[in-house]
């Protein structure tokens, strides 16, 4: 079973590396959105420090949502997805492999760049540390939940806008606990409670999202 997972993941990773520009676009989108905020609200470092966790988190959610279109779209167009559906392996496992590869090429770069953006916003070292942990726990959950939306809108006209309408409301708990963890640790409350809830959301998403996304794929390709 692990071999199947690794096989799907490696395939998607190789494809992603061959089209590196897609990965970089998502990353630059994230950086640009975050950099726009100081220009919008003004350069006072106190204000920026206060809004930093929320801004970074919202931008991360938007960036990984933009990348959702690529999760199944190419495989759908060239017919690979139908082959995957016919394979004897459980579809939810294959979906999980694809989502993990997707996270590795969209989520991980965001996590790696986030400390730099945190410094731009004058965040403390401790705050940046918690931001990193919250992103590491939260972005996979976002990819998992997003996979359901991407599977539902597969091949639908206007799917890109539609997917945001479907998945953004479902991201709210991740946003609350992700940004909340940083705020809580900066204000001295301790981020443990937020981070464990974020972890719980990730576990729940790991259990249910691949299954729901697989069901959605079956419906979409029926």
């Amino acid at each position: 079973m692990l071999a199947v997972l690794r096989c799907v993941m490696m395939r998607d990773l190789i494809l992603a590396v061959r089209r590196l520009s897609d990965v970089l676009t998502t990353l630059f989108f994230f950086v640009i959105v975050v950099s726009l905020f100081p220009l919008g609200v003004g350069p006072e470092i106190e204000v920026l420090r206060m809004i930093a966790p929320g801004v970074v988190w919202v931008a991360a959610i938007l960036a990984s949502m933009l990348a959702l279109g690529r999760l199944f779209e190419n495989d759908y167009r060239d017919g690979t997805l139908e082959q995957l559906l016919l394979s004897p392996q459980p579809l939810s496992l294959l979906v999980l492999g694809k989502v993990m590869a997707h996270w590795a090429v969209t989520g991980v770069p965001l996590v790696l760049v986030a400390p730099l953006l945190g410094m731009q916003f004058g965040m403390s070292a401790q705050g940046i540390g918690v931001l990193l942990i919250s992103l590491i726990l939260g972005t996979p959950a976002i990819s998992l939940i997003g996979a359901v939306g991407a599977a539902l809108t597969l091949g639908v006209r206007g799917g890109g806008v539609l997917v945001s309408l479907l998945v953004l409301p479902l991201y709210i708990p991740v946003l609350i606990f992700g940004a909340g963890a940083v705020e809580a640790s900066v204000s001295g409350l301790g981020a443990e409670a937020h981070l464990s809830l974020l972890g719980a959301i990730l576990v729940l998403a790991l259990c249910f999202a691949p299954w729901a996304a697989a069901a959605a794929l079956r419906i979409s390709l029926d």
Binding site: V148, V156, L162, L165, P169, I172, P173, S220
Partner: protein, 249 residues
């Protein structure tokens, strides 16, 4: 919904449900009108003026029933969607999609009246309270459901996809509610606690329940009417629909 006691599967074929629904609509609609008239009479003439909120509290008689209905309809909709996906019954999928517009309407009414009630009472049109925020998210979920269904051309796939989305949504609503509640308690300064349930005069409760049942009956009438349209649309090539159209001429 209201048809407990009737053997469901006998009527679960669209062709046999169509005339039954047609017969039920006038009755359900009349009950809705009667209940609404009595409910409005109670709301404005029988229920006493609240000594804290004055007359403004009378907004409650539509606000609370609308909020209840918005959540109730979503759960019922997800239930029908699940039935449609599991048993592959066409009628339950049609019920789910017919419920959505009325559910969205009540969600909007709950938000709108909440804002108009909040302004004179707390001095703000909108507060980031868990209930208000969740209600807003619920409106987004309804809109997402309807847009997904409208965006897919194949009716079978449309109802199955949106049905799955409704189920995902119904699992998420409690999670969203509790996370917003948690988030809100951490930002205590900005929020107002509404948890002190006022001890209501019994006439107030009566008025509220009457309005709730009026909304409920209204929903059933609307849904049956929409389901009938849906049935005609999807079965337009079948013989009985053609005969029906012939007959009307």
């Amino acid at each position: 919904m209201a048809f407990a006691g009737i053997n469901w599967f006998k009527y679960s074929s669209p062709a046999s449900f169509y005339p039954v629904a047609g017969k039920m609509i006038p009755w359900v609609a009349s009950v809705a009108v009667i209940l609404a008239v009595i409910g409005l009479y109670f709301s404005f003439f029988v229920a006493p003026t609240d000594y804290q909120q004055g007359e403004a509290y009378r907004i409650m008689f539509i606000h609370v029933p609308a909020a209840w209905m918005s959540m109730f309809i979503y759960v019922v909709m997800a239930g029908y969607a699940a039935m449609g996906l599991i048993f592959n019954t066409r009628l339950s999928a049609m019920m789910a999609s017919s419920l959505a517009p009325t559910g969205a309407l009540f969600t909007f009414v709950a938000l709108w009246t909440g804002a108009l009630w909040g302004k004179p009472m707390w001095g703000a049109w909108w507060v980031w309270d868990a209930r208000l925020t969740t209600e807003l998210i619920l409106l987004f979920l309804y809109i997402g459901f309807m847009s997904l269904e409208a965006a897919i051309d194949d009716p079978r796939r449309a109802s199955r996809s949106s049905g799955l989305l409704a189920i995902v949504g119904v699992v998420n609503v409690p999670i969203i509610y509790f996370s917003v509640k948690w988030w809100n308690t951490l930002h205590q300064g900005a929020s107002i606690s509404f948890d002190k349930a006022p001890s209501m005069a019994s006439t107030m409760l009566t008025a509220m329940l009457l309005m709730t049942f009026a909304f409920w009956m209204y929903t059933i009438a609307m849904v049956l009417y929409r389901v009938r349209c849906e049935i005609l649309e999807r079965e337009r090539h079948s013989e009985w629909v053609m005969a029906l159209v012939e007959e009307r001429k």
